[in-house]
């Protein structure tokens, strides 16, 4: 308070004001420019959403809620349903997370806590390079290299093992062991999201002040206890953010999945059987689609948009809850 009165008591100096004016103008311009840039993002989002809804509307109007629940995708009779693609999208993404998240967290903890310094740099660089590999490379590698190996060493032995056993014999049995299917797509997706999750988590763990870690070691904590009780709670929010980023990529990944998912527009009880995802179906059929089929593909895109949006909202809510603790 006294400072303010002191300030007012000093006679106003015109010079500094004159010097400040151009700066203030620049401030205004800069503020408006950045505001416009932010507005552009909103406009773009709204534009995309609007055009997807308008493009997909004929399909939603024709089939109603049945578009989501129906499993028929028949271009001959113009009957379209999204259910197998939605299930395929969610299950491949889920498999990718189940495999990819522990792997990524393990890599991140190892690199920040356990790795000898000479080993850190090459592994960290390799992970960043993996993130830069184009998705079509993952797809081709999956189709030509991974799928035959997977068929020969996993699918066929596993099918022989579980054949006839109730439940497991259905979920893990493949009638045609081609190496291609929902599970293969999930594995390839896991490889693709590991670099993202691992490198973000590593950055986050490295930012934790070392004094925290050292004091934990100082009171006699084991490495596991330090990771579990000091590092993870500290970086928790960011780790969830990294996982959600990976999930977003897994949900929308197109080329790699199209190569290895088997592209069957039908539901199967086995996760080793071929299936399809929303993105792979759009990639497959968009070129030749006309009329209602085109509308249905756009409507599929609309659903993917919505699913990704819901995932992001759930992520935000999770982050908000974790922050409270």
């Amino acid at each position: 308070m006294t400072a303010v009165t002191d300030m007012t008591s000093i006679p106003a100096a015109p010079k500094p004001v004159a010097r400040r004016t151009p700066k203030a103008t620049f401030d205004v311009v800069f503020r408006n420019a950045s505001f416009l840039a932010a507005l552009l993002v909103l406009a773009l989002l709204a534009g995309i959403m609007l055009s997807m809804i308008v493009g997909g509307w004929p399909a939603f109007r024709e089939f109603g809620l049945g578009f989501i629940t129906s499993s028929v995708w028949d271009t001959q009779n113009e009957q379209y349903g999204a259910w197998p693609a939605i299930v395929g999208t969610l299950s491949t993404a889920l498999i990718a997370l189940v495999i990819g998240v522990p792997l990524s967290l393990g890599i991140a903890v190892f690199l920040t806590q356990l790795a000898p310094p000479w080993f850190k740099k090459p592994v960290a660089t390799a992970i960043e390079l993996l993130a830069a590999v184009p998705s079509i490379i993952y797809g081709m590698w999956g189709l030509f290299v991974f799928a035959p190996l997977f068929a020969a060493y996993v699918q066929i032995p596993l099918s022989n093992l579980v054949e006839g056993i109730p439940v497991v014999g259905t979920i893990l049995y493949s009638r045609s062991p081609s190496g291609l299917g929902i599970f293969t797509a999930g594995i390839i997706l896991a490889f693709m999201i590991v670099p993202f999750i691992a490198s973000i988590t590593r950055d986050m763990l490295e930012q934790i002040p070392s004094v925290l870690r050292e004091s934990a070691y100082g009171i006699g904590a084991t490495t596991w206890e330090v990771v579990r009780h000091v590092l993870v709670p500290q970086a928790g929010v960011s780790i969830i953010g990294a996982i959600m980023l990976g999930l977003g990529r897994a949900l929308g990944e197109t080329m790699a999945v199209t190569f290895v998912v088997g592209n069957a527009n039908r539901l199967s009880a086995s996760i080793l059987d071929p299936g399809s995802t929303i993105a792979s179906r759009i990639a497959n059929e968009f070129n030749e689609a006309l009329g209602l089929q085109l509308n249905s593909l756009i409507a599929l895109g609309c659903i993917l948009f919505f699913v990704t949006f819901v995932v992001l909202v759930i992520a935000r809510l999770l982050v908000a809850r974790v922050k409270k603790f």
Binding site: N263, P274, N284
Partner: protein, 341 residues
């Protein structure tokens, strides 16, 4: 005087560049290699280039309807009423065949014999094993394994699928009523590969599988193929001669715009799964000179392009069909109703 000369030179330059403007076209991916080959040779011969975007037949139909290109290209012919509705003229350019590619241990290329009925049964999931009595009955003493058949199909919408399912619809009433004929259909069994390369990769890798690919692709990649019983009950080898035999017996005037199917044609040497690929132009184009340039290009290709087509394993049209096409071009007119070709 000098000024006039300069003006004349400039005018000639403008006229020259207008003439050398590229012909624009878009559509089917199947004929893309031969269209680019023709375009290259045509540019050398005449100076006019072709800008062809292989965006798929569906895209080609969309683009020509939107009038953004001089011609659209489609593997599947449009029906007469669709041509009439949009004021389009349709004609074929080259032909190709579809062959079944197989991967069965111990069965050599061209040894396995199938019929249309059996193919339909396999792709409907009704014939499940390679030693099914129906397959054994066609193959005499060929040793077939007691193994599940893995059918492979094209997952992307494609003219190849259109031709293949058109054939199956012709030979199997059950296929026609249950699954039908389109650029993509609802396959009850099997795995999908994207593009010819996706199908052939799956067939090569999956034991006991069967797929269908364009002949040119099967030949260039040395895929093991099966023979199919044709209309006359023979099992011809898939060769350019067998595809031409299918075209020779066809009645091209049966459908508007030459939109006939060459599947299951009569003739003892005719390959049963054969098809032409088509071009679409507007009958009354807004820019007649562009369409005129396109027709000139195809006229040149009919005259000079057969060798190039055969080199790439496409099948040239019979010459009587080419003449009929030129007659059909009289239906493409400028604003005053005068034929532009």
């Amino acid at each position: 005087m000098r000024k006039i000369l300069v003006l004349a030179a400039v005018a000639a330059g403008i006229a020259g560049s207008a003439q050398a403007a590229d012909i624009t076209g878009a559509g089917a991916t199947f004929p893309f290699p031969i269209y680019s080959k023709w375009a290259e040779a045509y540019q050398k011969a005449t100076g006019t280039g072709l800008n062809y975007q292989s965006i798929g037949s569906g895209g080609g139909i969309r683009q020509i309807k939107a009038k953004t290109v001089a011609f659209g290209a489609s593997d599947a012919p449009l029906k007469g009423e669709d041509l009439a509705k949009d004021g389009l003229v349709q004609f074929p350019t080259v032909m190709g065949g579809v062959v079944p590619a197989v991967n069965i241990a111990g069965v050599e290329p061209g040894k396995l014999k199938l019929s249309g009925d059996v193919l339909a049964g396999i792709y409907m999931g009704e014939i499940k094993k390679w030693n099914d009595p129906k397959i054994v009955a066609l193959n005499g003493d060929l040793k077939l394994p007691d193994a599940n058949i893995n059918p492979v199909y094209r997952s992307d919408g494609s003219g190849t699928t259109f031709v293949f399912t058109d054939y199956l619809s012709k030979v199997s009433a059950e296929w026609k009523s249950k699954i039908g004929n389109n650029t993509s259909v609802q396959w009850p069994v099997g795995i999908g590969g994207k593009g010819n390369e996706g199908v052939s990769a799956s067939v090569k890798q999956v034991a006991n599988s069967i797929g269908y690919v364009e002949y040119a692709y099967a030949k260039q990649n040395k895929l093991s193929y099966a023979l199919i019983k044709n209309h006359d009950g023979n099992f011809p080898m898939p060769t350019i001669e067998a595809f031409q035999a299918a075209a020779a017996n066809a009645n091209w005037k049966e459908q508007p715009g030459f939109g006939i199917s060459l599947n299951n044609q009569k003739g003892k040497d005719a390959w049963p799964i054969t098809s032409a690929t088509f071009i679409l132009v507007h009958a009354k184009p807004e820019k007649p000179e562009e369409v005129q340039a396109a027709l000139k290009f195809f006229d040149w290709a009919y005259k000079n392009g057969d060798k190039l087509a055969s080199d790439l394993d496409y099948v040239p049209l019979p010459s009587n069909v080419k003449d009929e096409i030129r007659t059909a071009w009289k239906g493409v007119t400028d604003n005053s109703g005068k034929p532009i070709f």
